[in-house]
């Protein structure tokens, strides 16, 4: 499909150059009425082109919505994500309606009222009623969106710190992530980059008893249907922890702890086996197989087949390998999560070794 579009674009370009050379020839033949100002003939042609452009533009928008809407992320894997998606769909709907109406009026008027000799324009300088209408309608629509949005925002940001919530520190550095679980006491030990030494790469305060049972991991495991409170800490510069599948994002700022919280609702397995993801992964693997053929022909290694996993990625420019700063996330049942966590080494033990 993309190839076809590219061919169309290149074709249009070809036509353009052909037309241009024609136009240049015409303009050299010295038409006397050509003083650089649009004539009635120009108005007619350009007015029609306005209409054609509108048709083309609508076709392109429809094509985008038809073919590219598949890129929209799968069903939100977090509790608040459902509200997020609902608000997003509502906003997109409103936007699309306004877009369709205004672009139509703009291009249609350009076509309909194209200049003709003897046509009189209407001296229509102002109209308070009209102005009021298109001030008040946006006010109402926007007020609704603002109120809806603010309620959702406040639900997301002002979460209850339940006692049994999982507290995880997400630690960012050039160019990777580490997770730190609070351990049995459910309290993260104190930490600062000034404590970084040898094996203590996250700068935990070794004298703090709360730190001893903390567990540091390179994969992020989360229990399903349980609130997770993330505390973000940076080792060096600004990063941003972006969890697209959970509709969550927060910057990671050196010198302060930022936080975000969500409740994961779909396990990695469920997501992997959802129709959306099965289709998507199938398509991706077809593309990868295709690309691998080329690579092998060039004597390079083929690409691995893709299997879906949640990830958190860095979304604030942070240096040369910014594009590959990611960590795998695994959402699993509570017992699996506990079993995995039990296997992880405590910080106190790791520094004793």
């Amino acid at each position: 499909m993309t190839e076809i579009l590219i061919i169309i674009v290149v074709g249009l370009l070809g036509i353009t150059f052909w037309q241009m050379s024609k136009i240049l020839k015409l303009s050299q033949s010295g038409k006397k009425d050509d003083n650089g100002v649009a004539t009635d003939a120009d108005n007619k042609t350009q007015g029609k082109l306005m209409l054609w452009f509108a048709v083309l533009f609508y076709a392109f928008m429809i094509y985008n919505f038809w073919d590219y809407s598949k890129f929209y992320l799968p069903e939100a894997a977090s509790k608040h994500g459902v509200d997020y998606d609902r608000l997003m769909m509502l906003s997109i709907l409103i936007i699309v309606i306004v877009q369709i109406v205004t672009q139509f009026l703009l291009h249609y008027f350009s076509f309909k009222y194209k200049g003709r000799k003897g046509q009189k324009a209407l001296f229509f300088a102002d109209n308070d009623k009209l102005e009021a209408v298109w001030t008040i309608i946006p006010v109402i629509v926007l007020a609704a969106l603002i109120i809806y949005g603010l309620f959702t925002w406040s639900d997301i940001m002002n979460f209850d710190e339940d006692e049994d919530a999982v507290v995880v520190e997400l630690y960012a550095y050039q160019f990777g992530w580490k997770a730190r679980y609070a351990g049995a006491d459910n309290t993260l030990g104190k930490a600062n980059v000034r404590f970084i030494k040898g094996i203590n790469t996250l700068g935990l305060d070794e004298s703090d008893p709360y730190a001893a049972d903390d567990k540091i991991t390179t994969e992020l495991h989360l229990p399903v249907n349980k609130r997770v409170i993330f505390k973000f800490r940076s080792q060096d510069i600004l990063h941003s922890a972006y969890f697209p599948f959970f509709r969550a994002q927060m910057n990671v700022v050196p010198g302060m702890i930022t936080q975000f919280s969500f409740v994961p609702t779909i396990t990695s397995d469920e997501m992997r086996n959802s129709k959306y993801m099965v289709d998507k992964v199938k398509e991706i693997n077809e593309i990868r197989a295709e690309n691998s053929k080329e690579l092998v022909a060039k004597g390079e290694m083929p690409l691995d087949p893709y299997e879906f996993d949640y990830y958190v990625l860095c979304n604030k420019i942070c240096g040369i390998s910014h594009y590959n700063m990611q960590m795998k996330i695994i959402v699993e049942e509570e017992e699996d999560f506990q079993a995995w966590l039990a296997q992880q080494q405590e910080f106190g033990e790791s520094i004793k070794q």
Partner: protein
């Protein structure tokens, strides 16, 4: 009223003075260190265009990398050389440098100085009926500092470590620490120096524009008779004066953090195996300071385009601009709101969520005056007699892209929805359409429309048509699909997306975007050709080729020092008496002519309207 009268008396006096010393100018004072606003406008135009060519070329280079990641291209070898494109493959740090410099150059050097500098200088004195700017000398100084700033910014491309590469917003600590990225060394120092100079020139220019508009209006030119171009340029200058100094303070603090060991923005940093001494600063503070300018900046970019479009639309529709007072009110509302919405760039920066709510509220409010403007433009077309000159096509195109791009602002301005599209391609699509492409369309519209005033000749309209249509198709081809890959969670500023197999199925879209970008960039050659060719060989312009009403079209085609050879015209009406009929409605006010120029007194058979 008396203030205006006094001003015009003083000005008349100045006018007579001028006749006294019409000395012959040397090449240097006429073309280089000129104090004539028309020449300075041309200088801004050409410098802005040159920077534009460089900025667009950069975008093409990194678009090629995004479409065909990590492949070898001769064009990389040619422009980047072995150091920045090893074996013809663009390096990751050169990619970031290109992205950063593209943003910096386009936002500041092309769309701020190139657009507002060019048209403020050309139009303010001509449209308000002044012989020149309030201070010709400061105006000259403003241009030359801008020139110096451009040169320093370009030099920064060639220094050790490469140009600044921490994004055009240059957030510390990345921009403060050369250990974090090579571009934060000498390249960043030069970036900061260039920006400090840029701010200085912007302030000089803006103060000059404000004083000129307030004090040098000709007799009868009340504020409510000003063309909307002047209103837009005037308010733009005010926003610049309010917000640019804040960026200067941010830049100075960043310079101190970098070079003198202060900790305004730095704290608790461990990098390259060492803990830095900085303690207690906050990068979030920098973000506040940066966006306190950064957001008004987008209105500094778009307001002049809005003014230009309003003017050209009215002229070419042969109708008054619909809702003149509403247009002024919305310019003022946008200007006011623009200074209290900066936090919407920082919803997920770690600032207090309550602050996020406040900024959501103010941000969505700004949609109201924007909507009023869009509807007023559309109504201006309604029942018009539209003359499809190239300037008019670009004006219609500007309204189209402004609506398309502006609407997605409703999503990004909503703190909740911003969470998942923040810093993705969705943002790129939004701001390129609403401020990048729209402002460029405003710029093109202005150049086509006022070319006769600049150079006394006409541009070739047919080439203009070709330029418009390909640009219109191409730029939607570039930016519309970006919304969708943004909604997929594809982050911006990624050197390549191949590290995430999840994004593999979007590779085709990246190719489509790049092809459209190349086509759109190439067609700009037609514009440049048309511009340069027409300066020398264009058809000679008549005094008022578009049959417009404003004062610049009462000046002679050949430029004279002081703009009007005789007395300065007196203004008797607003700028939009197009197709106004006489009391009986039998004919136009002036029979057979569908417009009345601003310096024509009220006619006997004409109704006086207060707009």
């Amino acid at each position: 009223m008396s203030a205006i009268a006094n001003a015009s008396v003083a000005q008349d006096h100045h006018g007579h003075d001028d006749h006294g010393h019409h000395h012959k100018e040397s090449f240097i004072t006429k073309y280089v260190f000129s104090q004539d606003h028309k020449m300075i406008a041309k200088q801004f135009l050409f410098t802005g265009l040159a920077m534009g060519v460089i900025g667009i070329l950069m975008s093409i280079l990194f678009r090629i990398q995004l479409a065909w990641p990590e492949q070898s291209f001769e064009i990389f070898r040619f422009f980047l050389g072995e150091k920045y494109a090893t074996d013809g493959v663009m390096n990751a740090d050169s990619y970031l440098a290109l992205v950063t410099m593209h943003g910096t150059i386009m936002v500041f050097f092309v769309l701020t100085a190139g657009l507002s500098g060019t048209f403020s200088n050309l139009l303010i004195p001509l449209q308000i009926g002044a012989r020149d700017m309030a201070s010709g000398f400061m105006n000259m100084l403003s241009y030359w500092i801008f020139f110096l700033s451009s040169i320093i910014m370009l030099i920064s491309l060639f220094v050790e470590g490469g140009a600044a590469s921490s994004g055009w917003t240059v957030y510390p600590p990345l921009s403060a620490l050369p250990e974090a990225i090579p571009g934060s060394g000498t390249g960043m120092t030069l970036w900061l120096i260039a920006m400090a100079l840029f701010i200085a020139q912007s302030l000089m220019g803006s103060l000059n524009y404000i004083v000129t508009v307030l004090n040098l209006r000709t007799e009868g030119m009340s504020m409510t008779r000003l063309p909307l171009t002047i209103w837009a340029l005037f308010v733009t200058a005010i926003i610049g004066v309010v917000s640019f100094p804040v960026l200067l303070s941010a830049a100075l603090m960043l310079i101190m953090d970098r070079s003198f060991g202060t900790s305004f923005f730095l704290s608790d940093i461990y990098i390259k195996g060492e803990v830095l001494a900085h303690q207690g600063g906050s990068p979030v503070l920098y973000e506040h300071l940066f966006w306190f300018l950064g957001h008004p900046e987008v209105y500094i970019v778009i307001l002049p385009a809005m003014g230009i479009v309003s003017e050209i639309m009215s002229t070419n529709s042969r109708k008054p601009i619909f809702g003149y007072r509403a247009m002024i009110t919305s310019i003022l509302a946008i200007a006011f709101l623009s200074t209290i919405v900066w936090g919407h760039h920082m919803f997920v920066s770690g600032m207090n969520p309550f602050l996020g709510s406040v900024f959501t509220f103010t941000t969505l409010l700004i949609a109201i005056p924007s909507a009023v403007k869009a509807f007023n433009w559309i109504t201006t077309l309604w029942k018009g007699n539209i003359q499809m000159n190239p300037g008019m096509l670009f004006s219609i195109g500007m309204v189209s892209t402004f609506i398309t791009g502006g609407l997605t602002g409703i999503i990004l301005g909503d703190s909740t929805l911003d969470i998942n599209v923040h810093d993705t391609y969705f943002v790129i699509a939004h701001f390129h359409l609403v401020m990048g492409i729209s402002a460029l369309y405003g710029f093109f519209a202005g150049v086509y429309h006022w070319f006769p005033k600049f150079f006394g000749r006409m541009m070739n309209k047919n080439l203009g048509y070709v330029h418009f249509w390909i640009t219109a198709i191409g730029s939607y081809g570039v930016f519309f699909p970006m919304h969708f890959i943004g909604l997929a969670g594809l982050p911006r500023r990624y050197y390549t997306n191949t590290a995430f197999p999840y994004f593999d199925d979007m590779a085709d879209v990246q190719i489509l975007i790049t092809v459209c970008a190349i086509v759109t960039a190439l067609i700009q050659i037609v514009f440049i050709y048309n511009l340069i060719h027409s300066i020398f060989y264009g058809k000679k312009a008549t005094q008022n080729p578009w049959n417009a009403t404003t004062l610049e079209w009462t000046t002679p085609v050949e430029h004279v020092h002081g703009n009007w050879p005789g007395e300065i015209p007196t203004v008797h009406r607003w700028a939009y008496d197009y197709s106004k009929t006489n009391k009986e409605g039998t004919d136009y006010v002036i029979p057979g002519q569908d417009y009345v120029m601003q310096d024509v007194p009220l006619q006997d058979n004409e109704e006086e309207l207060n707009h």
